[in-house]
């Protein structure tokens, strides 16, 4: 029969062990940071559990010890850096092209398209300044293709600043999207001696169709854009319904 005194002593020992395990063999800053919270939170929880009796206190102390051991045990999962949600790539010459392919056969797209009264293409870019025609957006579907200028008049949203990143939107003919199963949107620099423009990129959350959907075509060679991982250009189609309410943002 374990006495209450022994259980309390074991609780203290487990808490001290948790502290020792937390700080031993770790970088100094990690040890310092962990020590503060072992003393305040874990020891506080163990002390508080004592109000429910020595058995509960010992159980909480052992649980804390197990968690601390789990924290330091070799082979644990490291803290990995997520793919960048916000990166830039530069279109430098007229032959550079940022290209996005979208599947338009998903039910979410079909449902929204059936209710849409207008469609827009959104392009996030940086460095357009006050130019009225800095980029050209090419939209190609099974049904049609079109090219529309993108410039300062198309800026929209909370963050379109002249020399910084922001959204630019241009209208897309709704009938060109009906019955289409795939759309390819590409952006090129406008004019014959253009000023470079940086396009925004982000991570890609939605599962793609088994291959990268965004590409940077430079010198005829297509590469996956983004600092690492399967990034995508922020080039999207948005369907708008009655009262100008956005129904769907799609990529």
């Amino acid at each position: 029969m374990v006495t209450a005194g022994r259980m309390r002593a074991a609780s203290v020992a487990a808490t001290v062990a948790a502290l020792a395990i937390s700080v031993a063999g770790t970088p100094a800053q990690t040890a310092i940071a962990r020590a503060f919270f072992v003393v305040t939170i874990l020891a506080g929880l163990v002390a508080g559990a004592g109000l429910r009796g020595p058995r509960t206190q010992l159980a909480v102390a052992l649980a804390a010890l197990v968690l601390v051991i789990g924290q330091v045990i070799p082979g644990g999962r490291p803290v990995t850096e997520p793919p960048s949600p916000d990166w830039r790539a530069v279109l430098e010459t007229t032959s550079d092209r940022a290209e996005v392919r979208m599947r338009l056969d998903a039910s979410a797209w079909r449902d929204a398209l059936g209710r849409a009264s207008a469609a827009w293409a959104y392009v996030c870019a940086e460095g357009i300044g006050s130019r009225e025609h800095a980029l050209t957006l090419h939209v190609q579907t099974d049904q049609a293709q079109m090219a529309v200028p993108v410039g300062a008049p198309n800026a929209i949203g909370a963050r379109p600043r002249p020399e910084q990143g922001g959204m630019y939107r241009v209208p897309v003919r709704l009938d060109s999207l009906h019955e289409a199963s795939v759309a390819t949107l590409s952006v090129t620099l406008a004019g014959t001696s253009p000023t470079p423009v940086r396009l925004c990129g982000t991570h890609s959350i939605r599962p793609s169709w088994g291959e990268p959907t965004s590409a940077l075509v430079r010198g005829g060679i297509a590469t996956a854009p983004g600092p690492k991982g399967p990034g995508r250009w922020v080039i999207e189609l948005r369907l708008v319904g009655a009262n100008d309410r956005l129904l769907l943002a799609w990529y």
Binding site: G70, R238, L247
Partner: protein, 554 residues
Amino acid sequence: MVLTRRNFSPSGKRPVAIARESRAFIHKMAAEVFPPERLALRQPCDPGRDGLGARQDLAAGAIAAAVASLLVNWVRPDDSTGTLAMLLDLSVSLWVTFWTATYVTLRLASVMPAVSGWFRGDRPRHEASRTVGAPASPCRAWAFAIAISLLCTAEWILHGGAANPFLATSRPEAGMESWTNADGYATILDGYPAQGDGLFLLNLLGLFMGDRPAISGEFDRRAGHVYLVSLLQAPLGAYWAFATVNLGAWITSALAVWRLGWRRWPDRAVGEVAAVMVATGQGFIFMSTAPQAHPTALAAFAVVLVLLDEVAVWTARGTTGMRAALAAAWATGLAGLLYFGHIPLLLVTWVFGAGRVSPGILAGVTVAALAIATAWQWYGEWLLGLRFSGGNNDLAGGAIQIWFRILSEGLWSFRWQFHAGSVRGLLVGSFYYPWWILAGVGLMVTAYRARVWALAVFVGAIAPAIAFSPQFRLPRVAYFAYPAVYLLAAAGLVAIARAMVPPAPDPVAEGSRRIARGAIIVVGLAGLAILTNLDLVGNQSFTVWFHQAQENAW
């Protein structure tokens, strides 16, 4: 009782005697129609019966109505009074704010016997240390705890990943953000979509895991939450570690509210119904798997409320009282290491403790709790080089500066703030109208002991949200009121069910009536749960309101 002609016949009695009989009859009828055990909930010695004018909450309501009326009528008209909807919005915002401020002031002033005597119905008295609505049996308790845990888990799964409302409401379709791309304000943790702030917590997480050096970030003050996450990082990875801590906090919150209910409401059903409201609550659904400190802080808030009762901080004296105060201070300080939960907790401690606990003890708890919360800042700055400034670290100070500026600009600017930052919209974003209506009913039928406690929790939680409102209207801050709102709403729902199907003296008949009352409660809870789960069918109205308040819309 059967009415007969004989009851009312003159029968030769004197008018005084008839009046006395009539009064007794009316009282008896009233007791049959609204028996104390049905409406819960008033107890025979309830001083709240002494008169409506004898209650601090009602007095605060009258004062607030007068001040709101003055501000609405005496300050020159503007857009905030241009339409009836705007006028009502402004009036409610002003009333709620001044009611909160007045009630807090009256409660705090109750430490003075002279002020305390003004309100004979609310004279602070020592808390009876008792548990009045505990589960009938350990089996029932365990079964209910498991059922609540499963319900929380189901909601957590349904609202996880890309469906997490914190993330979903930041997508362009929600109509709230005009700068985000199709994915919303997102990051990808271990391959799973998560709310974007998670990215900024990884440096702290890396510090605790020994993977990264100390790097200042926007959430340095919330490091306690990230430390808890770090305990699960190695086996689960970042996404599931954050999500699992949230789930644990969600279940803990529901169980803690259940515990609070059975301690203060004599009807066992109140705590159980409130626990279901937590399990299907908008705030927890909104957070679900988001890598944020809020669920942990919300759980800490409710757990510390339980602890304050358990250590009898309101009643204990002498050495026991000192130990209770020490435990209260420590726990409150810990809540401050997760998020700013120590502020509402300290307010609750003062508002409810005034008159029950000596001011010296209350001051000691406050200083110690603030010291614990601040110790991390000193420690982190001195030993780790963290800055605790910038971004979210400075928002509270920014709100105070805005209030000073508004006040310096005069009454018009002051009133306009309640239009520009609608407090009504803030509170309705936190809990939609049905919960407020039920809570109002609950407040009416709840006896002194639970009512004063619930009001203390309520004002302690919403006062910081109102104070912060010039900076941001954040229903997730006002959501700290969930133990009070859900318990009062539960009391209201139970009282409505009892009024619709009164208890029967016959055990057989009562059995079927109990089932009928249970069905009414289940239907009510299901209706509420449908509202909080509308995002699952693509309707983000409630989650958008929870994200950024309802503003002036009704």
